[in-house]
Amino acid sequence: MATMLDCRRVQPLLSEYVDGALSEETAWDVKMHVASCAVCQRVADDFAGTAELLGGLAHVEPSANFESVLAARLADLSVKPHRPSLREQVSEWWYARGSVGRPALASAAAFAFVVPLIMVTLTLRQGAVDAVNGTAVVKQSNAAASPASDAEALERLYDDHAAYSSSLLLGDSSAVLTPADSRL
């Protein structure tokens, strides 16, 4: 039973495993499982094999007259490059690295917006409190709960992966499966 659970958790990670995209710790866990599981070893080899087949495909190139056809297409359409609008120019300036004055402008804008907002909110809230005669209950969000431990995070990662492949255990179509495993 333990092997079954391990396979269900490991197989969704095998694609990232063959790409070297897992964290060092998770990759080690997967490696240890794969070393002792012929089914998952086979799936990992197959995933690497598909990547190799696709990577080995011939690179196709456009026709020799691609540029001339494109030039004619642009000319026929009377296409002109899009001139940036005022909004786009402002946006470009705003996001440009090292824009002078951006921090100051941002602070001023935030101040000008936030201060009236706080005043209005406080006024309305005071009114609401008065209306219920001081019995208003403020519910606190628990969204900022203490962070989960690493083990819990890894568990959740496994579960997330298992969610989209819970009905898919790849061993059942592998030739290496033993009859005892076929019920998987």
Partner: protein
């Protein structure tokens, strides 16, 4: 001449974009020369048709030219072009004109414009007796392209961008406009399907 050419080729994407935004046609042509191969290859693997790939790749650069003013320097030109190309492929599939290989009748004539495809036939391969070692690269390429065509376009795009175009997971997330986790699951699911379709070539 050679020195001038090599200097030209060293222009960064951001430099070329800045020039292109000032209607510098030479910069535009250089961007086309730099990326037409990658975009064409991606679109071809998506559509399975050289003709459609040519047409859609042309459209990618038309869109780039007309929208270059709204391109933000922080983004990668490469991922932006792949995003335009992917959207155009999806539009083409929705119009139902470009998708091939999924519902194509075996009796329908082949187009004969596929470099990986065996000429003139659309026989169902009998892999059980096929000596895969004897398959030519061309025939193997046709089988792999056929397997790609059987994938849903979203899975196909993710696995083509990763395994053929060499984009990293996070680059695909930007190009496709999807979360990183979705990229991983699409590539995983694509490989699960490809594993079934290409089993004879994986066992050899």
């Amino acid at each position: 001449m050679n020195l001038a050419r090599s200097l030209t080729l060293t222009h960064s994407d951001s430099t070329l974009i800045a020039r292109c935004q000032k209607a510098d046609i030479a910069a535009f042509n250089e961007i086309v020369a730099r990326y037409k191969g990658k975009i064409f290859n991606y679109v071809y693997r998506m559509t399975g048709s050289m003709e459609d790939a040519e047409d859609l790749t042309q459209e990618v650069f038309v869109r780039m030219y007309t929208n270059i003013g709204s391109f933000r320097a922080e983004a990668s030109l490469s991922t932006w072009l792949f995003r335009i190309a992917g959207n155009l492929c999806v539009d083409a599939f929705r119009r139902g004109k470009k998708e091939r290989g999924v519902v194509t009748s075996l009796d329908a004539p082949t187009r004969g414009d596929d470099p990986d495809e065996a000429h003139g036939t659309r026989d169902v391969p009998d892999w059980s007796h096929e000596p895969t070692a004897l398959l030519s690269r061309k025939e193997l390429g046709a089988e792999i392209q056929g397997a790609l065509q059987k994938l849903p376009p979203k899975l196909r795009s993710a696995v083509v961008l990763h395994d053929i175009e060499g984009l990293a997971y996070d680059e695909i997330a930007v190009a496709e406009g999807i979360p990183l986790g979705t990229v991983k699951s699409r590539i995983f699911n694509a490989r699960v399907a490809l594993r079934e379709h290409l089993r004879p070539y994986l066992e050899s």
